[in-house]
């Protein structure tokens, strides 16, 4: 098992909600990144969790920047550090809204320009910081405050959008699998150029499940095949262990959707749409891994 450093860069007693999995994600990201790291953070849950001036819950510098601007800000920061011969890690830590919606132009630009940085999108599938409004990453059928009848549209596939930029490294991860996440962040930071890690981060108040089930919820997402853990290194896809198992014998999707209040009353059609999308995605990744496409 991977040795995880004891040093903590995210202090205790933050203002995160009970059962917040994104804090867990950040904890492992920072353990992997170490002290020579700057976080660039657009508006998101973590920009509140980090603390109110003059306090900070982070033991690395955090640069807060406007919602749409994180990847561009990181571009400038990385260019300046590299010009000064510093190898400081520049990590964008952004939510799904700041990534797939308002921040996507800056993200695309930074990847196209081969910016040397790591972009982490922690995905709780809605605008969590402002009380769960729909985002482009909200899945079909999920109720949010702006889709009270369930989202009619499909979750935007940001991974395929990022893939189109041909980054040297990209991966998915999930808060329930911290070792996998730790390894992926470590690997990403060993590679020069633009890297992307998309982390599913279940959200108890937003998804409406009991706080103590936050790790279980992440595991169910993977075990039902609704979230696939994979990495793409220089274009070569590897599907990671837990998802490989789920592809052979997935748990029924109801085990994942059932405990979540946001899916209460979801239509059969919406469930079918979710399952069919997940299966299509898994099949495409499998074929890619086999080198078929």
């Amino acid at each position: 098992m991977t040795e995880i450093p004891k040093e903590e860069y995210l202090f205790k007693c933050t203002s995160a909600c009970a059962g917040c999995s994104s804090s867990l994600v950040l904890r492992y990201v920072l353990k992997a990144a170490g002290p020579d790291t700057v976080l660039v953070m657009p508006a998101c849950c973590t920009s509140v969790i980090q603390g109110i001036y003059p306090n900070t819950a982070m033991n690395v510098p955090v640069y807060n920047v406007a919602f749409a601007a994180a990847a561009a800000c990181a571009s400038g920061m990385s260019a300046a550090f590299r010009a000064a011969k510093k190898s400081t890690n520049v990590i964008v830590y952004a939510g799904d809204g700041g990534t797939v919606d308002i921040g996507i132009q800056a993200l695309s630009g930074a990847f196209e320009r081969r910016t040397d940085f790591l972009y982490i999108c922690y995905d709780n599938e809605a605008y969590g910081n402002t009380g769960m409004q729909r985002s482009g990453a909200t899945p079909t059928g999920a109720r949010t405050t702006t889709t009270p009848g369930g989202k009619p549209d499909t979750k935007k596939d940001i991974d395929r959008i990022v893939e189109a930029h041909d980054p040297p490294y990209m991966a998915t991860a999930c808060s329930a699998y911290p070792h996998d996440l730790f390894k992926k962040v470590t690997k990403a930071l060993s590679i020069r150029g633009p890297k992307f890690i998309h982390v599913l981060a279940p959200c108890p108040p937003g998804w409406r499940y009991p706080t103590e089930q936050t790790v279980e919820m992440g595991k169910l997402a993977v075990k039902t095949g609704m979230w696939v853990l994979f990495e793409r290194e220089y274009g070569k896809v590897t599907i990671n262990g837990p998802s490989r198992a789920a592809m052979i014998k997935p748990l029924p999707v109801e085990e994942y959707l059932g405990p979540q209040g946001r899916f209460k009353g979801i239509s059969r059609e919406a469930v079918d749409a979710l399952v069919s999308l997940a299966r299509r995605n898994a099949k495409r990744l499998s074929l890619e891994e086999e080198g078929v496409c």
């Binding site: 001036y53 900070t56 920047v65 561009a72 571009s75 400038g76 260019a79 010009a83």
Partner: protein, 370 residues
Amino acid sequence: MLTIATGNKAVAAAVKQVSPEVIAAYPITPQTEIVEQIAEYVTNGELKSQYIPVESEHSAMAACIGASITGARTFTATSSHGLLYMHEMVNWAAGGRLPIVMANVNRALGPGWNIWAEHTDSMQERDTGWLQVYVSTVQEAYDTTLMAFRIAEHNDVLLPVMVNLDGFSLSHINQSLETVDLGDFIPPLRLPHAIDVKNPRGYGPLTGPEDYFKFRWDIERSMRDSVKVIESIENEFFRRFGRSYGFTDDYQCEDADVVVVSMGTLGKEAEVSIDLLRKEGIKAGSMRIRWLRPFPKLDLKGRDVVVIDRDYSFGYGGILAEAVRSTCRAEPYSVIAGLGGQEVTYDDIAGFIRGRRPGEESWFGVTPDV
């Protein structure tokens, strides 16, 4: 070296000599030549900057912000819609106390599409905490760009500076340009709050009502302190290179009964009107405002004032006229002229002065049938 250059090329020449570590910019007419020239300098090795060809102006300013907070010197250039597109980050740069220098080539806003000179673009950024200076010649564009870095980076200022030049009428005109040997005029930048991974801090985190206003006041305090800094840097520039400009460029104002107040190239053209009027026996003078922020103290007591605004605040008035009215307790004749590159000649300006109606507003060229 003595040569001829356009306003855009003069800005690029100054930037080349200052050699910022990071330049991030997005092309827009009529600023394009600045970006192209800088890209050329970087490509041929004359300029060692990291040049980031961003995908938008919002990202241009964001990239400058990210670079600047590491302690790097940064530059960008834009115009018109580009400036407005980066508006959010323009605020962020000032609030973050980052000494970014930006050239803005003044251009009108759409619709209708118009690529010619107007000041409404930068006027809409006047409350963002940036220092703003407006230039009127190619030489002044070059000199002011050099000084802008010194002023922005001064420890008593640490605010960004916007150098404004009129689209086409200055950005694309060829005039003489004397470049200088900078020597140690621009020392290395030492940003006191630069990111230091050994001393981790939060930059711009959530700040409550009990603290936020203190940061706002601190911007204003520095804005006020910048007055002395501008004076001292201009003095040093004069001692080293023999040229000076001041907060306003005054022409025959001492004994003037009437003073025309304007900005940019119109302010230069106005001097020719003054010569005409003096020949007619009218004691007129011209005051060209250079620094809009911090706004200078104007001595206009006891004279008639004509203000030419190449901008407008709808439902309120000419923005410069309002500034003159409120800070000088004057009743200016407010002329709105030159919008979207409207031709305004020295004859026209002389006409504004001759036909002045203190306290009234007049739109040049607007007749009942317009």
